[in-house]
Every structure is written in structure tokens, then in C-alpha cells.
Amino acid sequence: MVRGAPRGTQGSTNEEDSDPHARAVSKKTRQGIDRIVVRFAGDSGDGMQLAGMQFTDTTALVGNDLSTFPSFPAEIRAPAGTLPGVSGFQIHFSDEDIKTPGDEPNVLVVMNPAALRVNLSDLPEGGVIIANRDTFTENNLDKAGYKENPLTDGSLSKYRVISLPISTLNAEAVKDIPELTRAQADRCKNFFALGIMFWLYDRPLDYTLQWIREKFSKMPSVAQANEKALKGGYTFAIATEQLPVQYHVNPAPIEPGLYRNITGNEAVAVGLIAAAKLTGKTVFYGSYPITPASDILHELSRYKNFHVKTFQAEDEIAAVSAAIGASFAGQLGVTGTSGPGFALKAEAINLAVMTELPLIVMDIQRGGPSTGLPTKTEQADLLQAFAGRNSESPVAIVAAATPGDCFYMILEAVRIAITYMTPVVFLSDGYLASGSEPWKIPKVSELPKFHIVHWTASEGFYPYLRDPKTLARPWVIPGTPGLEHRIGGLEKSDVTGNVSYDPLNHQKMTELRAKKIAGIAETIPDLEIFGKEEGELLVVGWGSTYGAIYAAVDRVQKKGRSVSAIHLRYLNPFPRNLGEVLRRFKKILVPEGNLGQLLLLLRGKYLVEATGLHKVQGRPFQIREIEQKIEEMLRWR
């Protein structure tokens, strides 16, 4: 959604911290609300991600704007009922333009005591808790560290608690289905809860019913059980007096067009499949499973008829090496990983720097260092991308701003790699990778065209002859008669590409490699400023902070204050007008999910005063956190 200026600059971006449920009335009525944030939470075996995704798809289909943020533990199945085993899925949906999954939930659906304990601190006073009270047993309360049952001891008096016997109701709903084990029956309770939520927010069941039938087509009793659970939850909600109000959120005024919901990792995969089509090349994806990048490997492995070949390598180094081999062969070599794997790939990336081969390296960042927080988000690999290799090692770096933007930025990475014969690092993170948003589907005819020319003439060929404009060397496909030549990691003589240890040649080649990357700036768009062209404060972001920053800046602008924002999707080289834009503002704020990495680069390159706002909690910024910092900075004149 971040092509140029952000969506909704004309309309209002109302993300005030209001509680729509406060307006609930005592008898069963239908009430319109503008936006809501729901968080589903339960044990990692409770199917909360699935329930959340189903709710998301249906919410997209009814035309709300939305943004989601799943959160799950690193353990596949931590002991049931324990705090580390809690998995959550948050969705923010609205009748207006929204940019983030919401600072905090208005409604918390908890399937066990541990889910309540882990998530309660995020719920503001007056928030709604929908709890499966059947799981609040002595044993489960004990596992969650509760001495008394919070549903009955009065400790939740600040919230509106809707305590429902979901397990019992679910068991009742599916009891007549033949050949259904008790475990299978109990596993449907997420769909019972989903059915309740569908009624509560006035969503149709059709899409999920269809999904159930397709998903369990080979297990008819399971399909039937899930269907009964979903419908059971829905009809229970209609009947119960505990839910007196049904809420309705109108469709959002979104730019007309055909839409789908998309996560960042899906957008990356779709982008690479499109790249294969648009370049007429095979995309060779070498990867080693790693959270949160593995979904890209899963997705791409299903598209062989698009000339996408996937290779699950023996390790991270083999994954990038094989991709380099494919690039040398004249195809599009791509590798994807997260921070720890990116570190392992460093030496091989430098081989592609030295041999000047196109290569896409995708780093889906997560909390670190070392194994860190595998399933949590962070933006702390920018400097690793910039300088995490031996010697002078310039590479292009791009970063996506939203889940849907991953599609466009991966195509940009491909364009830069093949135009300039260089590795390109594409940065995403756990938040973008698994978060989702509605995405306007582009027309194939509107996508960029790629014209790749491979050198074939034997006359005048030298492996390191450069295109005068881009400084790219020729890309020759092995198998081309008469052009047999050798490349490698040793320093090359200018033009001929022969091995050279000549001191002046090394200086020249080092500078040429740097100049080539710097020259990419000629083909990247100038920054567009959100807000006034000059003024008191400029907020500078990159990557997944886009939504929170623009929503915060929008709020403060509406209060009549002088604050503007820019968002960097190109980190190396920077857009040409960056230095000049920075100098038009008295103060600069750089919020980022690290301890000041972009900040260091901006200060170093442009000698500007700038202040950082750093968050490394494995969670994205809340709008309010940035808003508060902006207001604080506008106060100190």
C-alpha cells in the first residue's frame, strides 16, 4: 500500500483509543462501530492461528480494511496449558483506512487461563474478555500461576467478562457425529469460538464453511464436526443473553479494484513467481529452513510450472552457494533466510560481489543476537546487510514497508540485481512476514518489464568490460561458444578479468564496485514527503515501522502540529534527495526496531542531528509510542 504517498492522506485515519463496547446496550440490538481490535489467544494446540486467519479472510471479503499480527511461541507444542505455550492472533478491522494491527485489543478471546494471564496486561480497562470457562480448572489455573479463578474472584472487575462454557457447548454441538474421537471433537472448539465471533461482528459463515469442506474433504466426520461447531457457536451467540449486542463494521472506502488478503511472506513468493514470468528466467530458490522465512520455501516449492525451482540445501551456506551457481548459469539465483542464516551466508555473498553476479538475498529479520527470539520481530540486521562482510563489500539493500509492499520491493530487488550485476539484500521481518493486509491485485500488464541481454558475440568480449552507464559487466551464459572464461573470488584485473594482485588495480576495482552500487540511485524514485515539505520535525522510518509511524504522524498533524514523515524503502544507496530533505527540518526522529542502526547511517552520511526511538521487545511499535515521542520532541524548542 505504500506506493508513493500513503493511503488515506485525504480521508481521516482515526485510530483513537476508544472502546466501542462501552456503548453496548442491555437488550439484543445491532450496532454500527467504526473499528475494532480482536485478539484470539489460546494454547498453541488450540488452533488460534487458524481461527484468526479464517476471521481475517472473511473480514477482508466483507470489505473492511484490516491489519493482522500473529504471535506464536518458538516451541512447537510447549506443555499444554502453560504460559510459554500461548499462541495469539490479533486483527484490527475498520470502516476506514488503517495501517497497523492496533496498539491494543478491545476484545480478548481466551481459550485457557494461561492465555488470559499472558495477554491481560495488553487489554485496556473496560476491554472485553470472552473466556472458555470450562478450561479454568484447578490444574490449568495452577499451570498459569493463578491461585484463585480470575473469572470468579472479582479480579477482572475492570473488564467486561463474558464467561462461556465453550468446551461443553462444542461437545454438545458435535456429539452425534459418528466415528469422531473425543480428541477430534474437542479440537473443533476453536471453530465454535469463531462461530460466536462471526455472529458478534456480523460476518457470514460461507467462506469458512467452504474452506472446511475443501480442507477435510478426505475426512468427512472431521469436516462435519467443524461445520457443526462453527454453526453451533453462531446460533449459540444469537440465543445467549450474555451477548446482547451484535456489532457491524461497514466496508472501508478503499481504492476501487480487485483485492486479496496477503502476508509479507506470501507477497515475497508471489513476487518471485512474477519475476520468473516477467524475466523469462528460471527462479532458483536455495534455502535452508529457518523461522520466519520457511513459508517462502513452502510456497515457492508449489510453482514448478512457473519455472520456479526450489532447493532445500544442507545448510545456509549451500543455499546461497547454489543460488550463486544458478546465477552463474544465467538464471535468477535467490536465497532466503533470517539473521543467523544471513550471517552464515556472508562469505558467499562476497563471492557474488567480487564476481559481479546477480543474486537476491532475503533476510526476514527476527530478534537476536544468536538464536535470539526466533518467532519475534526485530529490525536489527540493517548494519549486517550494510557491512556484515569482510573488506569493502558494497551491495544494494531494499526493505519493504508493508506486507503487500514485499511484492513490489522483491521485484525492485530483481531489477537492480540484473541491471547492475550485483547482490541485492531484501529486508523484511517477522512482523511483515506473518502479518497481513488487503492488497490491491495489480494487473499483469502494469507490472515492470525486464529485458535481459546476455552477451553472445565473441568479438570484443572481456569478462569485466563495463556498461558505461550502469558499470555492470556482461552476463555470459556458460555454454555460449567462443566466450569460455574464468571468474572467481580473487581480485580481477580491470576489463580483462584476469587474476591481478596489482596495487593500483585493486584500488581502482574497489572504487569501481562502490561506484556501481552508488549509481543505482539514478534509477530509484525520489522520496515523497508525507506532510509539509519543510518544518519542525521529520520522522524517518524504514521497513515495517511504516504503518505505526504514518498513523502517529497523521494523528499529530491533525492536531495542527508541524511534523512530516518519509519512509525509506531503499537503504543502499539512499534516494538522491534524502540529504536535501533531511536539511529542511529542524529536528529528525528515527524510530526503528533496533538500537539506532539507520540513525548511525544517516548521521554518518549526512552529518545531521537526529534522535532515535528504539524498541527491541520482539514486538512492533505501537502508534501511541511514536506519537508520544513526536509530541515530546515538538515541546522542546
Binding site: R260, F311, Q331, R486
Partner: protein, 342 residues
């Protein structure tokens, strides 16, 4: 190699056609000179044009090899040549891909990639030049150095048990396993040609002398005075005999080989070499035969068929396109569910 893409006319090339013209910078007397020369002879007879060959190497003395071949070449990073060659071969299965590695590059830093390339059975050739020493870093012990070896980094003698390259290849179920020797020029040419002809990973260990840091690395078996008694040349379908007058043979005693005199036991008692045995057990046994208890076998240990990784990968692409047609990008962009905003 896809037969349909081969040229119709047989290609006539000479060893000279494969000389790149770059100054060869190995030490005078290095075993690599002979290997280079035998490679140029062998490729002239393979029947492919020069541009179809790609030499991929890692780091080390052996890794300079691609610069001296007038073919495509890629001198990569330490230990990773099999991985780079894997991507290259998958992306362009029409190429004849050769990985040149050494005992350090292939078995120490790159051991992982070597094993996985072999088990996947990529259709490429791996030549491991074994000189039992680190040459380019000037003389440290390598993973194949013998126990007790005194080197710059093991002044008291190495306390590491050496790794056996062919044993690793067979454990990874290589489909073509062979050994030759730098100075056995005719044997080396023939071994390279057989490797070239094999569809699947061909793994060839070449005993190579390092004249500077480990001279006579294999002198105990290759010296002219002793070689007939200490080398067993394997030939498919023939009894295993060795010695100046082929007076010795190998017999199986229980699960162990033993050296016997042929005139005492008769030729029929000897093991007959079967390189096509689907079970790798005897081939493994042969890799365990070492001087001084046994003659050292050279030749083709194992030569079996198994589908190649690149062949299966590309076949799946072709099949899927035949079944479903070329992918429709619009469908992928649309994904599982869409809605229209008016």
C-alpha cells in the same frame, strides 16, 4: 546430459584445445601438472564442445585448476564448490560440470557439501586431489594426513585419525567411486573418461604428490620399486591379482579380505571385482585395504545407476508444465480468495 542437445557431428578436439594460455603457477614438480595434462587429454575424447564444460573449484592449490582449462570456470570459496556446482547443474543440465577439490577443501571445510552432493547424486564429477597436506597455507596437516604426521601445526605428530575419502563417498552411497594416481597417466585418463561418461555424481580420489610440503606423499605405494606389489588395479569382472607377475591375489575370509598366493589357492578362490554390485559392502571393504597389510586398490570401485537430482528436478518441471500448462500469473496474483471494491 540431454542427448537431444548434443551436436550431431562428433566433435574432434585435441588436448591443446583445452589449454587456456594462463601461466600455470603450481610449484615445479607438483602432481597437479600431470592431472591437468591428463584432464586435457581425456576431455578431447569426450565428444562435447569446449563451451559445454564448466570447472568449479573451491580454495587450495588444486582450486587453481579452472584457470588453466580453456573452458568455462568458476574459482569459488573454500569448500563450497559442490554446492555452487549443484545450483549450476540444476539451472543448466546441459553442461558437463566438474568440481575440482582437495583433501582440505573437500573433506575439512567442505565435508558437508561433499556428502550431500554425493547422496543427492547430482550429475557432475568431483575430482579430489589428495596430497595429505595443506599446501597453499604452507604445510599444516590435513584431514587425510596420517596419524603421527609431523607438520608445522603438529610438531609433536598429529593426534588425529585420518579420514578415508572413498569410505566417505561410499557411505554417502556414491554411484561412481574411483581412485587413480597423478603419475599413472594412462590409468588417470581412462578413469576421468569413465567419470565423464557416468550419469550421476562421479567421485574420483587422485593420489597427488606435494613436492614442497609432503614429498613422496604416497611414495610407500607408488615408488617404481614397490608399486607392483603394493597396488591392486581393479578391473570389472576380473579376479583381484597383483604383484610383478600377478602372483598374489585377494580372497575373502569371513568378512575380511586376505592376501594369498595364487598358485597356492588357485585363481577361482579369488575375489572377482564387480563394480556394478548394487550393495556397497565389498566396495567399502576395498576402501579399507591399506599399505602395509594390503595392496592399495585403484580403478573404479563402484559404478551403479540411480536417478540424478537435477534430472528429477527438471523432469518434475517438465511434467508439471505438460499436465497443467505454463503457469498463469494472474491466478497466482489473485490467490485463494478475492473481493472487489467498487
Amino acid at each position: 546430459m540431454n542427448p537431444e542437445t548434443l551436436p550431431n557431428e562428433p566433435i574432434k578436439l585435441t588436448p591443446k584445445d583445452f589449454v587456456s594460455g594462463q601461466d600455470v603457477r603450481w610449484c615445479p614438480g607438483c602432481g597437479d601438472y600431470s592431472i591437468l595434462s591428463q584432464m586435457q587429454k581425456a576431455l578431447a575424447d569426450v565428444g562435447l564442445p569446449r563451451e559445454k564444460f564448466v570447472f568449479v573449484s573451491g580454495i587450495g592449490c588444486a582450486a587453481r585448476f579452472p584457470y588453466y582449462m580453456n573452458t568455462y570456470g568458476f574459482h569459488t570459496i573454500h569448500g563450497r564448490a559442490p554446492a555452487i556446482a549443484t545450483g549450476l547443474k540444476c539451472a543448466n543440465p546441459d553442461l558437463s560440470v566438474w568440481v575440482i577439490t582437495g583433501d582440505g577443501d573437500g573433506l575439512s571445510i567442505g565435508g558437508n557439501h561433499l556428502i550431500h552432493c554425493i547422496r543427492r547424486n547430482l550429475d557432475l564429477n568431483i575430482l579430489l586431489f589428495n596430497n595429505k597436506i595443506y599446501g597453499l597455507t604452507k604445510g599444516q596437516y590435513s584431514p587425510t594426513s596420517e596419524f603421527g604426521k609431523k607438520t608445522k601445526s603438529s610438531p609433536d605428530g598429529s593426534i588425529e585419525h585420518p579420514i578415508n575419502p572413498l569410505c566417505i563417498a561410499i557411505a554417502a552411497e556414491a554411484t561412481f567411486v574411483a581412485r587413480s594416481i597423478d603419475v599413472y597417466t594412462q590409468h588417470l585418463v581412462e578413469t576421468i573418461k569413465r567419470a565423464a561418461a557416468h550419469k550421476g555424481t562421479s567421485f574420483v580420489e587422485i593420489y597427488q604428490n606435494c613436492i614442497v610440503f609432503n614429498d613422496k606423499a604416497f611414495g610407500d605405494v607408488t615408488d617404481r620399486a614397490v608399486r607392483d606389489d603394493r597396488i591392486l588395479v581393479l578391473e570389472h569382472g576380473k579376479p583381484m591379482r597383483f604383484g610383478k607377475n600377478k602372483e598374489f591375489g585377494i580372497r575373502l575370509k569371513g568378512l575380511q579380505p586376505e592376501v594369498v598366493k595364487v598358485d597356492e589357492v588357485g585363481e577361482k578362490a579369488l575375489l572377482v571385482h564387480n563394480e556394478q554390485d548394487p550393495e556397497p559392502n565389498l566396495a567399502y571393504l576395498l576402501t579399507q585395504m591399506q599399505n602395509p597389510d594390503f595392496p592399495v586398490p585403484i580403478g573404479v570401485f563402484r559404478f551403479v545407476e540411480r536417478p540424478t537430482y537435477d534430472g528429477m528436478l527438471n523432469q518434475k518441471v517438465t511434467e508439471l508444465i505438460q499436465q497443467q500448462g505454463e503457469g498463469n500469473l494472474e491466478e497466482v496474483l489473485r490467490g485463494p480468495a478475492t473481493w472487489t471494491v467498487k
